[in-house]
Each structure stands twice: as structure tokens, then as C-alpha cells.
């Protein structure tokens, strides 16, 4: 018999975990939705963001929330660099993304992921490190919720809703939206497709790296060169669940995954909870290929 209190607490923790997942996946969602390519090395950029937060903490005493801002700024540069070295050759002058370009990106970013994670072992060693930042807990009835995770949850919702407003309400946001629907339409609204695509990529990387920093609050000890191997697949599942390019889809997909994983653990072993969460992708792809959001 599972106590109701356990389920309730798992639900709350699942919601917080889901928001963390959401912000980690959101950058991938933006790039996938707009530029229509999938960055297999997504997890390695999360890792980079996490190490950024770690070093900022060690050398600058920054807490992960502050580091997320710095990481986000760095992510802009990383994103532009990535766009012009990996995507520009494939996207330049194209009217739509061909399967071939999709596969070239898939394979080249796969190589990048091998390269980065193994270079990270040399640069950072394979040791697990963590950031010693714990703002305490807040009592909520019979439950105690970690404040740090609550901050991250709020930030995650904030980042995702900001991106919705940005895409809907600003000129450049509209240009990005236009690009995501039809590359030639971008020119009709008077914007340069390359500028729009590279900006979207840069924003995606900015969010990814900031997400990596925020993730360190949730996993107090888990910063290591291979951490991307878990968070990249989770991000893929989230984006597919929510539907690529649907900004609120990150949140919905993340929450689904977080709640499924945490609540299921009250009934089945953790491993199986994760297995179920991963396999959720299959029925969604079969029956709702556009994602669970209409």
C-alpha cells in the first residue's frame, strides 16, 4: 500500500522535475522547431552549461541562478559559432530543409557529441562534481520543498513564457515564426533568412546552456562529462511529446515526463519508471505525430 502522502509528494517533486526537464529541453525545441534540424550534441551543451555554472561557482562564488544568466549570454556566441560551422552550409539558400540536410546535421552533431564529451573528460577529468548551494527548504503542510528547485521551477516557467511572448509579440519573433513555417516567407516580411536562422539557433543555445546551469540545482552532484547521455534523450522525448516548435510544448512535455517518472516510482522500481517515460515516445509518434499539444 502506497501512502497518499508519498504520491502527493512525488507529484509535487515530479512537477518541479518536469519544469527542470522543460527548461533543459527548451533550447532544443526552439532550434528543432525553427531551423528544423536536430542537434544530437544537445546534451553536451547542457553539460557545458553545467560546467560553466560549476566553474563560476568555484572561481566567482556565483550561485547557479546567477550563472544561468552568464551561461545564457555565452550561449549566444556558442550558438552563432555552431550555426555558421554546422548549419550554414546546409541551410544557405535552401527553400526547405531536405531529408539529406537533416541527416547531415544528425551525423555531424553526433560526431560533435563524441568529440565534446571525450574532450571534456580530458579537460575536466571524469570526476563527478557538484555545486554547493542550498537555499534550504520551505515547509508546505507535511511536506518540505527545496527552495532552490522552486526557484528553478519559477525561472523555467518564466523563460518558456517569455519565449512565447517574444515569438508572438516582437517583430524579430514574428520573423522567426515565419521562417519556421516557410523559409521564403521570411524574405516576404523583409528579413534575411540567414540572420533569422542564426539568431534562432543562438537563442536556442543560450537557453540550452542556461538550462544546464539551472539543472545543477536539481542534481547537486551530477556534473560530469557524460551527463548529456541522460539529458539529451530526455530532451528529445520532451520535444516530440510537446511537438517541435511549440514553445509551450516544452513545458507540457517536461511536466508529463517529470510527473510520470516521479509518481510511477511510488509503484514500480525507478528503472522501470524511466523505461516507461522513454517509451512514451513511441505511442505519441504513432498516434499523435504532431505532439500532444493541438
Amino acid at each position: 500500500m502506497v501512502a497518499l502522502a508519498v504520491i502527493l509528494s512525488d507529484l509535487l517533486f515530479g512537477i518541479m522535475l518536469g519544469c527542470v526537464f522543460a527548461v533543459v529541453a527548451h533550447g532544443l525545441n526552439l532550434i528543432w522547431g525553427v531551423v528544423k534540424v536536430v542537434n544530437i550534441a544537445h546534451g553536451e551543451f547542457i553539460m557545458l552549461g553545467a560546467y560553466g555554472a560549476y566553474f563560476l561557482n568555484v572561481f566567482g562564488g556565483f550561485n547557479p541562478l546567477l550563472s544561468a544568466v552568464v551561461d545564457g549570454a555565452l550561449g549566444i556566441f556558442v550558438g552563432y559559432a555552431f550555426y555558421f560551422s554546422f548549419l550554414h552550409r546546409e541551410l544557405r539558400g535552401k527553400e526547405r530543409i531536405t531529408l539529406r540536410s537533416e541527416m547531415v546535421t544528425l551525423v555531424s552533431t553526433f560526431g560533435l557529441s563524441l568529440f565534446m564529451s571525450n574532450l571534456a573528460v580530458v579537460a575536466f577529468t571524469g570526476d563527478f562534481v557538484g555545486i554547493n548551494w542550498s537555499p534550504g527548504t520551505v515547509a508546505l503542510g507535511f511536506l518540505e520543498l527545496p527552495l532552490g528547485a522552486l526557484y528553478v521551477t519559477i525561472l523555467a516557467v518564466l523563460i518558456i513564457s517569455t519565449s512565447v511572448v517574444f515569438l508572438d509579440r516582437t517583430y524579430i519573433g514574428n520573423a522567426i515564426k515565419a521562417y519556421s513555417q516557410d523559409i521564403t516567407a521570411t524574405q516576404l516580411v523583409g528579413a534575411n533568412p540567414t540572420k533569422v536562422a542564426s539568431l534562432a539557433t543562438a537563442l536556442g543555445f543560450s537557453i540550452t546552456m542556461a538550462g544546464g546551469a539551472l539543472l545543477t540545482v536539481w542534481i547537486p552532484t551530477g556534473i560530469n562529462p557524460y551527463m548529456g547521455a541522460l539529458y539529451a534523450p530526455i530532451s528529445f522525448v520532451i520535444v516530440v511529446l510537446g511537438g517541435p516548435g511549440k514553445m509551450l510544448g516544452s513545458l507540457l512535455g517536461g511536466l508529463t515526463l517529470g510527473v510520470v517518472i516521479d509518481v510511477l516510482q511510488a509503484f514500480v522500481p525507478v528503472s522501470l519508471a524511466y523505461a516507461v517515460a522513454f517509451l512514451l515516445l513511441i505511442p505519441v509518434l504513432l498516434f499523435r505525430p504532431e505532439g500532444i499539444v493541438k
Binding site: V38, I40, F86, R89, L99, E102, M103, V104, L106, V107, S108, F110, G111, L112, S113, L114, F115, M116, S117, N118, L119, V121, V122, A229, P233, F236, V237, V240, P269, S271, L272, Y274, A275, V276, F278, L279, L281, I282, L285, L286, P289
Partner: protein, 311 residues
């Protein structure tokens, strides 16, 4: 053009395989065991070549079949004392069955969606095995089948030979033409009568079969099956890197890729440098961006005479 007769490369590969046949007698075990590993990776490369190389469906989670084969041999040898050669056959059979089941669902997804669905299946498989006490759960299975270099060697040699012959068989005839059409444009292929779904499933089944057989040999030679090591996505990545570097879809590419990826990796071990995966990763990036056909494909495109030779 590829409907051509068997060329120099075919006979060259055949000659190489025949030479390898006598190697265990001509050299000490310490050489045979390196070649066993090399052939193991070659077998994996050919196996993923059937699906990813030939159709362009990137199977990132291909390790799942290796894992199934490894557990087939591990569990059958541990619990029933089954002969390891039968264990390899069982691994191949289970690899085939699971590939057909998984392929029936996942081969409906195109491009990135297929790639991602295979990854989540591999991750889920690991997490499920961790909770199966019959398969040793997280403790895995420790075997004592002894040091059997001859049996290891000729088993994996036979697997690779089979794969080469089947690759040639497919590439040469009607099948090969249909498969190239699928790789080029799946819908157009369907509209000229190519039974796309069946052909893809056939290839996925083949690749699962050989990955399963390879996995069984892996469990046999390493005297155990351990969930994290067996289902490590690194195997998928290595297989993929080998065919990308060697040249996708070709008959020569996988063995070439296995040689240029495995031998340096092994050499690096003895001089204790941990850089092999960095170099491999870099090579994959460069090849994917600049010479997507890999070594063999590029040589073929660059030179007509080489093209003839490399068929």
C-alpha cells in the same frame, strides 16, 4: 554502375578472409585475439550498414540488438549450460526477432524520428534489464566458458564472411536497386512498386540478426554480461562512426572503417592516451560535413577507375 559483376574488391576481400582463415595457426594467440576484436567490430559495422548504410535510417540505438544477443548467450550458458556456439545462434535468432518487432513500429518513423525512437528503445531496454533478476539484474552474469581463441575466432570469422557475402548479394541485384531507390526517395520508390516497408524490415531484421550474433560473441569472449557495459550507447556510436568513416552502404566501407577506428584505439591503449574518441568524433564531424560518402564513397566519386575497382 552497381549492377556490375563481382569486381576486384570482392575477390580482394575474399582473399583477405581466406588469409585470415590460417592466421590463428601462423601467429600466437596474442595476435588472434586482436583480430577477434577487430572482426567483432567489423561484424558490428556490417550489421549497422544493412540498415543505416543502405537505407539511410540512422539506428542510434543499435546496441539494443547487441545486448539481446549477449544476454541470449549469457543466460543460456549460465542457466542451461548451452554450448556457446548454439548461444551465438540463439543470439542471432533473438536479434532477428526483436529487430522485426521493433522495426515493425519504428520503421514507420522517418529521419530524426526513427533515430530518436531507437535511442529511447535502447535506453528503455537497459532500464528493463536492470530490473530482471532472471538476467542477473544490475549484477549481470559472470560466465566461465574458458579461453577458447579458436572457437571465438572462427565463429566471428564466419559471421563476418556471411555479412560480406550478403552485402554483396544485396548490392548487386534487384534488391540493391530497390534499396538505393528507398534511400534516395522513399515515396517515389513506393510509387514505382518497390515494397518499401517490407524491404526496410528485411534489412532491419538482417542487421538485428548479425548484431545479435556479434553481441553473443562479445559475451562469450568477455566471460560475462553486464547491463551498463553491454547496453552502452558507445557501441552504437562506434558502429556508426565506423561506417560513416569507411563509407556508408558499400561492401568495403565497414571493414575499412572498423580497421581505421579499432586498430588505432587499441594502439592508443598501450601507450595510455585517452584521446581516441576525441579523434574519432572529430573525424565524423569532418566527414559528415565535407565528404559525406566516407572514404570508399569519396574515392569512388573522385576517380572512375577506382570506382570500377571498388565495386
Amino acid at each position: 554502375m552497381r549492377i556490375a559483376g563481382l569486381g576486384v574488391t570482392f575477390f580482394g576481400l575474399l582473399a583477405l578472409m581466406l588469409l585470415l582463415l590460417i592466421l590463428p595457426f601462423a601467429f600466437p594467440f596474442s595476435t588472434s585475439v586482436i583480430v577477434i576484436n577487430l572482426l567483432f567490430y567489423t561484424a558490428l559495422a556490417y550489421s549497422i550498414n544493412f540498415i543505416t548504410g543502405m537505407t539511410g535510417y540512422v539506428s542510434f540505438g543499435h546496441v539494443v540488438f547487441l545486448g539481446i544477443g549477449a544476454y541470449a548467450l549469457g543466460a543460456s550458458a549460465d542457466v542451461y549450460g548451452l554450448d556457446p556456439v548454439l548461444g551465438v545462434l540463439l543470439g542471432a535468432a533473438l536479434g532477428l526477432v526483436f529487430a522485426l518487432m521493433i522495426g515493425l513500429v519504428t520503421l514507420r518513423f522517418r529521419g530524426v524520428y526513427f533515430a530518436i525512437s531507437t535511442v529511447v528503445i535502447a535506453l528503455a531496454a537497459l532500464n528493463i534489464v536492470l530490473e530482471l533478476p532472471q538476467l542477473g539484474g544490475s549484477q549481470g552474469i559472470i560466465l566461465n566458458l574458458g579461453f577458447q581463441p579458436y572457437s571465438w575466432y572462427y565463429t566471428i570469422w564466419g559471421i563476418v564472411l556471411f555479412e560480406m557475402l550478403i552485402t554483396y548479394y544485396i548490392n548487386r541485384g534487384k534488391l540493391g536497386l530497390g534499396i538505393r531507390a528507398i534511400k534516395s526517395d522513399e515515396d517515389a520508390a513506393r510509387s514505382v512498386g518497390v515494397n518499401v516497408s517490407a524491404l526496410k524490415l528485411y534489412l532491419f531484421g538482417l542487421s538485428g540478426l548479425f548484431a545479435g550474433a556479434g553481441g553473443a560473441v562479445f559475451a562469450w569472449t568477455t566471460s560475462g554480461v553486464f547491463p551498463y557495459e553491454t547496453f552502452s550507447l558507445n557501441f552504437s556510436l562506434q558502429m556508426l562512426a565506423m561506417i560513416i568513416i569507411g563509407g556508408v552502404g558499400t561492401a568495403l566501407g565497414p571493414i575499412l572503417g572498423a580497421v581505421v577506428v579499432y586498430l588505432p584505439s587499441y594502439y592508443f591503449l598501450t601507450v595510455a592516451i585517452g584521446t581516441q574518441l576525441i579523434i574519432i568524433g572529430f573525424a565524423v564531424v569532418v566527414i559528415a560535413l565535407f565528404i559525406p560518402e566516407g572514404i570508399v564513397g569519396t574515392l569512388k566519386r573522385r576517380s572512375a577507375s577506382l570506382r570500377e575497382l571498388l565495386e
